[in-house]
């Protein structure tokens, strides 16, 4: 037995050390457990509410219960009642007791578009009685896909009926469309008549224009000649200015000339004597001047006739302008396009 005795100093108090270690581990484990428990609300005080629904579909135990997005509890239990309805028990954290009052309702919603289903409870009316332990909270049925389909089905049927009504050839819509078409056709004809009225108006306007043209034609030449006269007078008045200046110059020259008059007079007398001599010689040929003038007139007439002959011959016709003459409008030998009394 002495050989089993441990005499190493390192083994002294070994039991105590082991005991301590175990204790520490146990404490650690306990700490972790307790922390986890606190975190998961195991030690949190809770109270229970319940609601009744037609079907337990979509519910499961442990399903979160949320208020305004906050997790306040979970579905504790789901039971089938004798009347085949389902009682769902909610375990709610006492901390949120104050929000669940009269007016609060529970409903199932999906978190996000394809998220998990949760039970949502709403906040009750302020100042009202809080739900007590074990009390029933009303359940509000929110539409699932089946409900949506059920709601849409009658709408689709209605739409089908409306389409059928619209397409019915004997129906009001088709008849109305047909009438609209007819009215439109009538309007087209009316438009055509308006066009023809406009044409007639245009013809009337042209008539008036023609009358205006005729007035303009009659008055135009008179106005043109008046304008020409005025223009001529302007030109004449412009020409008068230098003429006046020339008259002044001439008057000046005349003064100078009168001073030279005696010398000019002497020269004039000598010139007159010369002219007298020439006129005596000319008077012998006077009878021939008349003949010369007559020959000149005949030559002018012959020249005119020659010009006329050239004009009327084919080369001349090509260059000479054609004389115009009025023509009859064509005679229409048909009665088919004429109105009769």
């Amino acid at each position: 037995m002495d050989r089993l005795k441990d005499s190493d100093s390192r083994f002294k108090g070994l039991e105590i050390k082991i005991g301590l270690l175990v204790l520490i581990v146990l404490v650690g484990i306990a700490f972790v457990v307790i922390s986890l428990g606190i975190e998961r609300g195991i030690f949190t005080k809770k109270y229970t509410l319940y609601f009744i629904t037609e079907s337990g579909e979509g519910f499961r135990e442990g399903m979160p219960v949320k208020l305004s997005g906050f997790n306040i509890g979970r579905v504790k239990n789901i039971e089938l009642a004798k009347d085949a309805r389902v009682t769902v028990y909610l375990e709610i954290n006492n901390k949120y007791h104050g929000w669940l009052r009269s007016g609060s309702v529970a409903r199932v919603i999906k978190e996000g578009f394809i998220g998990d289903a949760v039970v949502e409870v709403t906040v009750g009316k302020p100042g009202t009685k809080e739900y007590a332990e074990g009390e029933m909270i009303p359940f509000e049925k929110a539409g699932g896909m089946a409900e949506i389909v059920n709601e849409v089905k009658p709408v689709l049927n209605e739409i089908k009926e409306i389409i059928h009504y619209i397409n019915d050839p004997a129906g009001d819509i088709k008849k109305t469309l047909s009438n609209v078409q007819n009215v439109t056709a009538g309007m087209l004809t009316t438009r055509e008549k308006v066009d023809s009225l406009l044409d007639q108006t245009g013809t009337t306007v042209k008539k008036v224009q023609g009358l205006v043209d005729s007035v303009a034609e009659n008055t135009g030449p008179a106005m043109e000649s008046t304008a020409r006269i005025i223009k001529n007078m302007e030109q004449i008045s412009l020409k008068l200015v230098p003429t006046m200046e020339r008259i002044d110059r001439i008057a000046g020259n005349a003064e100078m000339a009168t001073q030279r008059l005696p010398a000019i007079t002497d020269k004039l007398e000598r010139t007159i004597d010369n002219v007298k001599g020439m006129s005596d010689a000319l008077s012998n040929d006077a009878p021939r001047i008349g003949e010369i003038l007559m020959d000149a007139g005949d030559a002018a007439r012959d020249g005119k006739a020659l010009v006329k002959g050239v004009r009327e011959s084919w080369p001349g016709r090509l260059v000479a302008p054609k004389p115009r003459s009025p023509e009859l409008v064509p005679f229409d030998g048909s009665l088919m396009n004429v109105e009769r009394r």
Binding site: S196, R301, E327
Partner: protein, 317 residues
Amino acid sequence: MLIGLIASFAFGCAAKEKRPSVEEKAVDASMRGSEAFANRDYAVALVRFEISLQLNRAVDNRHGELVDLINIARAYIALADYQNAGDRVEKAITLARSLNDNRKLAEAYATYSKVRWMAGDSQAALTEINKAISIDAKDGINSGGLLNLKAELLIDSGTGAEPLQVEKAEPFQRAEELLFTALSLNKREDNAAETANSYRALARVSELRMKWNDALAFYSKAYDIDKPAGDPIKITIDLMGMAGSNLALKRPDEAVFLFGRAYVVSANAGLTARTVESLDKLIITYKEMGNAEKADFYSRIRDTMSADNGSGGGRAK
């Protein structure tokens, strides 16, 4: 000095630029009136011819006055005013006789023939056209247009035969003879308008004899000439004629198509009476074809037109 005198004399005889005379202005107005007439602008043509008449009378230009009187009468005929037309053409006849202008006298008688017919006196119309033809014949002139008119007057009389003459073997034979003569004359003179008139009148004769294939052929030939000429009245008449012939030949589909075209042309040209006539034909034909929908459709248009216009009006052929 003598050379200068002669030179100034010669230059003095040279033509000077002169202002247009009253006669030239009358010619100008008359020619502008003829242009408006060719464009089927009859009201404007009338005004211009009247101006020309005044100017010609102001300078006693009787030949010009005669031309103006006949042109004014023809413009009034185109405007369906036979009373004013008659007044002018009677003056033209008097003036043409005084001027011994046989050509213009024949034209005046031909115009007067139309006026008498418009006034409802077919017998007087025939008398006047015979005067016109005989005057031309004396001068060796044959006018296809006058023969066309005479033939149509004979057709219109119901027998197609000359008064007080023995009836030919076939109805409207005399009218037909005149029309074929007119046709060859018109073709020779390259007168497209009168050639179309001849064809149209021949079609009318064929219709009266119920020879529908011939009627269709003649109307088609008239249409081929009238369409490029662009006269909506004649085009409508041709289309209606072709449609009627097709209908008689038991070809209702072609008939309704052509009646439809006649409706479109006449409606767009503002020819109310012919529009109503074409609509009536469409309605009747569609009803006979059993197409109530189309008949209804055109009936509504017809009713709208009647409500707006009061009545169809005009002379339907």
